[in-house]
Symmetry: C2
Subunit: 198 residues, 2 copies
C-alpha cells in the first residue's frame, strides 16, 4: 500500500492486534478510510473511552468501570462458591445457564508458555488470596478443557492443596442431545468411567 505517514501509523497500530498481519491491517484501513470513516471515528472514541475508564475488578479481576464489579457487589450470591474462568466471555456463558449462584474469579488468560503466559503473568497469587478468603468452601475450576486450560486448572489445584477447600472441575461427558455414535472417543471413555446412578 502506498503509504503516507498517517496511513503508515494506522496500519502499524492495527498490526499490534492479536493475529493481525500487514494484509489484514491494510484491509481494515482500506475499509475504514474508503467506505466507513464514521466507523473509524467511532472506534477511535470507543478505544479512548475504554482505555481511560476500564480497569480490573479488585476482587474478581474482570473488566469493570468501577473498582468492584457488579457481580462481586451482589450480596445475594452464595459466598461459599467461587468459579474460576479464563475470560469474561466464559463467565457470561456460565451466567446464562442460570445454574450457578456463586462468585467468580476471572484469570484473564491461561497458562500458555508458547504465548509467554506463565503462572506469574496470570498473577495466580491474586487468585490464591481470593480463593482462600474466609467463607469460600468450594473452588470450581472452570477453565477450558484444552491443553492450556487443563494445565492452568492443574496448577491452581496444586496451589489450593494445602488449604481445607473443596476443589472441583466441571463434569465432562456426552453433551446434551449427543449421539454415542458421533461422540469423540476420549469423551465417550470419560463418560463411561464417570457413569452415575440414575
Amino acid at each position: 500500500m502506498k503509504k503516507t505517514s498517517s496511513l503508515d501509523a494506522l496500519i502499524t497500530a492495527f498490526e499490534r492486534l492479536p493475529g493481525v498481519g500487514p494484509k489484514t491491517a491494510q484491509r481494515y484501513v482500506m475499509h475504514l478510510l474508503q467506505y466507513d470513516k464514521a466507523a473509524a471515528e467511532q472506534l477511535s472514541r470507543a478505544l479512548e473511552e475504554a482505555a481511560a475508564h476500564i480497569g480490573n475488578c479488585l476482587r474478581c479481576n474482570t473488566f469493570t468501570e468501577q473498582s468492584i464489579c457488579t457481580t462481586c457487589s451482589d450480596e445475594h450470591r452464595d459466598p461459599r462458591l467461587l468459579a474460576v474462568i479464563e475470560t469474561p466471555a466464559d463467565q457470561a456463558a456460565l451466567e446464562s445457564t442460570l445454574a450457578y449462584q456463586g462468585y467468580y474469579y476471572v484469570l484473564m488468560g491461561r497458562i500458555s508458555p508458547l504465548d509467554g503466559v506463565t503462572p506469574n503473568t496470570l498473577k495466580l497469587e491474586r487468585f490464591l488470596a481470593r480463593a482462600t478468603e474466609p467463607g469460600v468452601e468450594e473452588v470450581i475450576l472452570a477453565t477450558n478443557f484444552t491443553i492450556e486450560g487443563q494445565t492452568t486448572a492443574h496448577m491452581m489445584a496444586t496451589l489450593l492443596k494445602p488449604y481445607p477447600i473443596k476443589v472441583t472441575r466441571l463434569a465432562r461427558g456426552i453433551p446434551f442431545g449427543g449421539e454415542l455414535e458421533y461422540v469423540d472417543l476420549p469423551t465417550l471413555a470419560q463418560s463411561l468411567r464417570q457413569r452415575r446412578n440414575t
Copy 2:
C-alpha cells in the same frame, strides 16, 4: 463477555471491521485492555489522525494527505500510460517491479455484486474522465485475475471502446521459475495460445 457500557461500545466498534464478528472483536478488546493499553491509545490516535487527514487523490483516487498524491505530482512520469489497479497495495506491487513509469488510477475496489459494489459504487465515470484526458494513449487494465477483477476489467474495456485509446491487460502465463508440471491447466493453456517468437 460481561459487558460494561464502554466495553460494549468498543466491541461494537470493532465488529464494523470487515470479517470481524463478536468473537474476534472480543479477542481484540481482551488483548488491548488486558495486555496492551498503550496499543489501544496508539490505535485510537492513529484512527483519529487518519480519519481527519487522509482523503482521496483528485487525479488517481488513491489515499493521500494532499489533494494530489506524490505519484500524480511527479512530472517525470510518462503521461501516455495509465495503469488501473484495484488497491494501493496493487500499485505498490507494480511500482516495486521498477518496470512501469506511467501514471495510475486506483479504483479502491472491484465490481462485486455480492458485496454490494456496483459500477456506480466504484465511480467508474471518474475513471473514464481520467482515462480520456488528452495525452493518454494506453490504458493498462491491471485489476486482479479473479472473477471480480476480470469483470471489472471487462466493464472498463467496454466503457473505453468508443475512444481512440489502446486498452491492454497484463499478460498471463507461466510465472518466473515455474515448472510446466506444476502450473495449473488454464494458465498452461493460456501460455500455449499466447506463445511468442523468441
